[in-house]
Amino acid sequence: MGYHPKIVAPSQLQAPINFFKPKALTIDDIEKTISDYVQCALLAQKAGYDGVEVMGSEGYLINQFIAKRTNIREDEYGGSYENRIKFPIAIVRQMRQAVGDHFIIIFRLSMLDLVEDGSSWGRSHCIGESNQATGATMINTGIGWHESRVPTIATVVPRRAFSWVTKRLKKEVNIPLIAVNRINTPEIAEEILSDGCADMVSMARPFLADADIVIKTMKNRSNEINTCIACNQACLDHTFQLKISSCLVNPRACHETEILYLPAATKKKLAVVGAGPAGLSFAHIAAMRGHQVTLYEASDRIGGQFNMAKIIPGKEEYGQTIRYYEKMMEKYQVNVCLGQYVDVDILVKGDFDEIILANGVNPRKWDIPGADHAKVIYYTDLLEKKVIAGQKVAIIGSGGIGFDVATFLTHHNGSDTDIASFMETWGVDMEYNHRGGLKLAQPELPERQVYLLKRSTGKHGNTLGKTTGWIHKANLVKKGVTMLSDVEYIKVDDQGLSINVAGSPMLLDVDHIVVCAGQESSRSLYEALLSKGLSPKLIGGAFEAAELDAKSAIHQACTLAAEV
């Protein structure tokens, strides 16, 4: 390693999400840092950039100067608000002097800190005005610090949930403002602008999902946009694990030089079995490249497991991916055969060049005494609405599906897209009467009493996404879900579910037991085809069912479709 930087901050206060305590900057250090910002902008100008964005939000250095929470200095850069904003104001002023008038300077302003001892509204507006006066071209919005415990960008956050914050500043300053967070369609973006919330909208992750959002909008083809579902699974979760970012619904993102969808040299006749995310991804890329594709689906609709995901409160966006695939099937003329259960004969008679099996998974059978009792249902029964659960429910298995089912069972309406109720649930003060925009959270009472059970010891939720798992867990805690670990399942009878918890017997007098205990790949068709001397290719859950994993299913499907 070339160097070992020492972390620095306004004051020697350790961040709750960091292992290290920073060194407090001296006055000389501060002046040096200001000139480093200016120098950096000059170098960026020299490199040909049209401007810079000065990151002043999310709890980074500039934000640390502005907020009392992190600035307990007693010199000219601490104490009063006027002193605490000296650092960013000096940066923008000196930067503007250095770069001249024809260079964009965007100041990213934390308009809603969502942490204790964050800024109050009057302060955000003052620094907005100061920036205007000192030479910023535009002000971008920052919502929340990394250490705040309110979700700000995950799927569970309703669309345009925070545009009201930017609108508030719009009344106070005259330079263009940019609205952010959970803006993922041109329709929502247009609505924000026509409501007078901002002059521009920022979309980040949506440009991983689809590079052509704007051009498709210009050509009135917005229904062809591959919409960001805000899952974070391949973008933020990757960054967190020091992997290259990508996108669950678009594996080419950040891999543009490696995954290429070029016109096929030889046009082939392809059969795809199963219209879940893997089959659909493969079919549309292969057809786009010029292959002739027939897609067989046993049920009466495309979408596979995403049809279940989209009815989980806070996962409504998954329906957008199905809409995208529907449009792509039409656009690239995939021959979609719904309600078609495929056997070996159909595939043999079809005389296909290649057969791709994406026929997914079957829920793993639960094997304990009483597993055939009427109380026992599978998650598919519940999410396909074949069964409506009673008031007391036990969930077997605490992976991603177990968490989704618990969320589904404890919500009232089965939908969670209302902004005001989101803010109540997570304690965000839309009146902005309190510092940081926080108030006491008031979640809705749960719809049912739910037990979430797992055999292993340790905390629930450890297998969930790195950047969203805490949200799902906090959500269930708010809904009063009882989470039990180290559970041994004994039997089911009319009394309910008998278990041992860490060796102690317990009876849960539940109305239903929902089994989410994993799934197995559907392989019978694959084996039948092999025995006929054919060589089908497996993708998605049919290939690997260990974890239902849309990210790897879609990635596998797209890379195969790029090569076929």
Binding site: F20, A44, H146, M200, M218
Partner: protein
Amino acid sequence: MYKHLLNPLDLGWTTLKNRVLMGSMHTNLEEIPGGFEKLAQFYRERAQGQVGLIITGGISPNEEGCTSAMAAKLNTEEEIPNHKLITEAVHNEGGKICMQILHTGRYGVSSEDCSAIAITSAHQFF
């Protein structure tokens, strides 16, 4: 139908072609060998898609402000050619791009500890 969104934004001395900003995202390509070539293609395709203005992932103004010991910074002339790959790719498509300057302060790390590095670099996705 999208008359606000597709309306150009006049900044006085220059004009953005529409009201859509591609927000800052750190991709981790910033730190790998050959990463700027890949970033150039990533941003080129977004510029071809007609986005009004692009913001890069966060680049530190000095060593102290880096998300990690090896994270991208811009404080020497030697680092300019890498960035030119990006700006030329975007400008060739008629796009505009700004570089985000990010100093992490107390969110940075001072050792090789990877989990802590990731916590701080993970949040450029707004």
